[in-house]
Point group: none
Chain length 179, copies 4
DNA sequence: CATGAATGAGCCTTCATTCAT
DNA sequence: AATGAATGAAGGCTCATTCAT
């Protein structure tokens, strides 16, 4: 038990370091030795916990995409509350710049990593459809348009956060516009 | 004059080749020698026309972002027609996969290239605001929310193009939802 | 006593595992962790029993060269029977592929390990000379030529074992040819 | 023409440097940067001419095995003269230590490189058989035994060159013994 | 004794960029 | 302008060896 915990804690430390470095340099410009330094461990150890840099990239990218928050909201909420939950969590997750950078980078590489592509597909096809059904009662084209507008709008807000509009206000206006 | 034309034609050839290669490998995983082969121009010559790979990346990324189409529509159209124009051109530009890949990749690297970041800033702040004024008569928070919803929705549609919904239908529904 | 036995048994287990791994990968391409896995002993422990990988290589290489069998035959036999004994034991030792691989690999590295080089020198100079004296009564150049022909022929047979010729037949013909 | 020549000369230079370095360190312990230094070129250039270190190893190993000299003799000579030709050329080829080291190393890795294994197979099976037919008029088991004795003896002589016996004498005695 | 986590030197290879022709 | 040979700085990864437990 303690063994597994230690292992898990070490992996976590590496992933955290990797997130900081990746968010600054991008996945492919970030050399592994910087990640090692940032996590305070040796370069070799990274390859003890992750079989390759790609595996580490994958782990970080998965955490950076919004699928997890969508799933959580889907479990907890129904109807219009669901949309609010998603919006709130989305804005919260990407509030700090590190996550924001990682989000863009991760979207950028999703085509090159089958596992990521699948995650994006599930998010955009299945999860969004489910949200539509739970929030609007159907997944008609128009409801799906609303879903994309919601999601895309949040993405835009996050990518280029406007100065004078608080998250609260933005979310309220957004939900109002989407009806 | 002929000199300049020849120069321009060569540069264009390279950029075209670069777009094909970049869209397949991503900017940083695409080696210059592949671009050379793809455009039928020697590797050395690429550095005659572009001072560095970064300059080439910049040129390609600029063409891949949607600012140009926004500007064009802003010049040509007014009122609600403006939104339709943007939607139509947006969907057209990113209809083929190459452009779509480049769009994501370009967004992904925009933070690392000051010129790109500026372009994104102008697009999301100034151009979008101008569109809001011309289409809705004001740039109130709510109008801006609509702008982001429009833009983000188009992005989502393009990133993960749904099977059963034509561009026409999608655009019509989208504009209807946004009022 | 039991202590020493246990120690010896552990060392033996490691050497056996090492032989299997070395024969597959060659001495320098075989990572220690594979030897550990193959012998069912932890990587760290290997360095408890052997001060370095080189020491393990040395031990395996020594066992893989034919000096031991030469010495044994020299103790037991005289005259022409000695040659037959050598031939028989040689063919027997290198009957299985593992030993065959190790023989070649060991010859290949003998130059780089002083202890091995000495072993090869003793084998080719002293032991062979002794065999010549015991088998032919002298170590004249011609007798030594016969020795090398015997030895080299066995090596060739073993390296590239012909399909249609049994060990028995080969040995008989060989001894006949060498007179 | 001049282009190809330059290319060929550069490749040759690398191969020569590689042979020197490989003969000293063995194929796997010889780092590429030493080969570069020894050939007086940059490390990167080696990979311009050879797609990988393995390819370079292969080229060197092929030159270090005796197949070429066997083929040449087979073309030029008949009968007993053939054996003499082989013996002479063999002793000549492996007169200097570099070639001798490379011979052992190359034999040692032949199992790991399919192309080399094929070369060894052809040498030991087909070429040796052809020599037997041309020298003794048949490829009976006994003739093949003689072939292996010839070849193996030469190998032994070369691996552990005796001090007091000149090549000439050795060869004369050897041929006499083999009848 | 025993384990497996930790280290860091070093290796092969890639690739942007320069240069001689 | 044009070519492709040449350079060298990194980069990802392996692996022998050590160490804390």
């Amino acid at each position: 038990m303690s063994r597994r915990d230690a292992r898990e804690r070490a992996r976590e430390r590496i992933v955290r370091g990797a997130m900081r470095v990746f968010s600054r340099y991008g996945f492919f410009r970030a050399p592994v030795h910087l990640i090692a330094r940032e996590s305070g461990i040796s370069k070799g150890l990274i390859f003890w916990y992750f079989s390759s840099k790609d595996e580490l990239i994958l782990e970080v990218a998965r955490r950076s995409l919004p699928a997890d928050l969508l799933r959580k909201c889907l479990e907890e909420r129904q109807g219009r509350e669901l949309l609010e939950c998603i919006g709130r969590r989305y804005l919260e997750k990407y509030r700090d710049e590190e996550m924001r950078s990682l989000l863009i980078y991760s979207m950028g590489i999703s085509q090159a990593y089958p596992e990521l592509e699948e995650e994006v597909r599930v998010t955009c096809d299945e999860l969004l459809r489910e949200v539509a059904r739970k929030a609007y009662g159907d997944d008609s084209p128009k409801s799906m348009v609303r879903m994309r507008a919601l999601f895309g709008s949040l993405l835009c807000y996050v990518l280029r956060r406007p100065r004078n509009v608080s998250e609260e206000e933005y979310l309220r206006d957004l939900l109002e516009v989407l009806g």
